[in-house]
């Protein structure tokens, strides 16, 4: 079927970014980014299963500068997606759907995920 060049109704670009829309986009971005985290996590598990020499190699890569940047991104994406996912579950249950409640829960998600990321980093992963 030939694609007709039909006019599109105005969407994303005509709207001022709002907390709700930005968080919604970030939820997807974080979710897709978690593929990288999943690969890293599985590689770590495989490393433990294979043996001490391979495990040391995995740890070496993760504790390198690039590894630490990737790991921090993974931790941040994980906690953001988890906290905002809980917000989505409340919506699915029909709660927090009013604009004010959705925005307050949004700010709570931002604060909670930032706090969880920093606490996790402080208590173990960094360095």
């Amino acid at each position: 079927m030939a694609q007709a060049e039909r006019p599109l109704s105005p969407h994303l670009q005509v709207y001022r970014p709002q907390l709700t829309s930005v968080l919604s986009i970030l939820h997807r971005v974080a979710g897709v980014a978690l593929i990288g985290g999943a690969i890293l996590l599985v590689w770590w598990l495989v490393g433990i299963a294979i043996g001490p020499a391979y495990y040391a190699k995995v740890k070496g890569v993760i504790s390198s500068t690039v590894g630490q940047v990737v790991l921090f991104g993974f931790v941040a994406a994980f906690f953001y997606h988890l906290c905002n996912g809980v917000r989505h579950l409340f919506w699915d249950a029909g709660k927090l759907l009013e604009i004010g409640a959705a925005e307050r829960a949004g700010w709570l998600v931002v604060l909670a995920s930032a706090a969880l990321t920093l606490v996790t980093w402080y208590f173990g992963m960094g360095g």
Binding site: R28, G31, V32, L34, I35, A38, I39, L41, V42, L45, V46, I48, A49, G51, P52, Y55, A56, F78, L82, G85, V86, H88, L89, D92, T120, F123, G124, M125
Partner: protein, 125 residues
């Protein structure tokens, strides 16, 4: 010919032909992943600087093996469902879309199996 009415056919199925199953399974896995994800995050933090022997010991209990297997199963199923929707939404060239859907399905299956086999090996050591 079918004697079912159009309403009867479409009810619970919708345009994707599998009804609310995708949506529902995304929620089921999400609910499971909240406690499992937090539990595993704590576990990883504790093992962040551990040597190999400590890491092996941490995966030696049957309860840890069972929970880790559920986490891996629910996690990669959830990832597969999420990536599927993202590809459906943004990739409109049909051959590319089919290719990406197959690729992400295979990748999630492979990663999930690698994780599950590693955890099983450590649990059954």
């Amino acid at each position: 010919m079918s004697y079912r009415s159009p309403l009867g056919r479409v009810r619970g199925l919708g345009s994707a032909k599998d009804g609310t199953h995708h949506w529902w399974m995304q929620r089921v896995t999400a609910i499971a992943l909240v406690p499992l994800g937090l539990w595993f995050a704590v576990k990883i933090v504790r093992l962040a600087h551990a040597d190999w022997e400590t890491a092996v010991t941490a995966f030696a209990s049957p309860l840890v093996t069972a929970l880790a297997l559920i986490l891996i199963g629910a996690g990669f199923y959830h990832l597969k469902l999420g990536l599927q929707v993202v590809i459906e939404d943004y990739v409109h060239h049909k051959p590319t879309e089919v290719f990406l859907q197959l690729a992400q399905t295979f990748l999630c299956t492979l990663l999930g199996l690698l994780g599950a086999i590693s955890v099983l090996k450590l649990g059954l050591l």
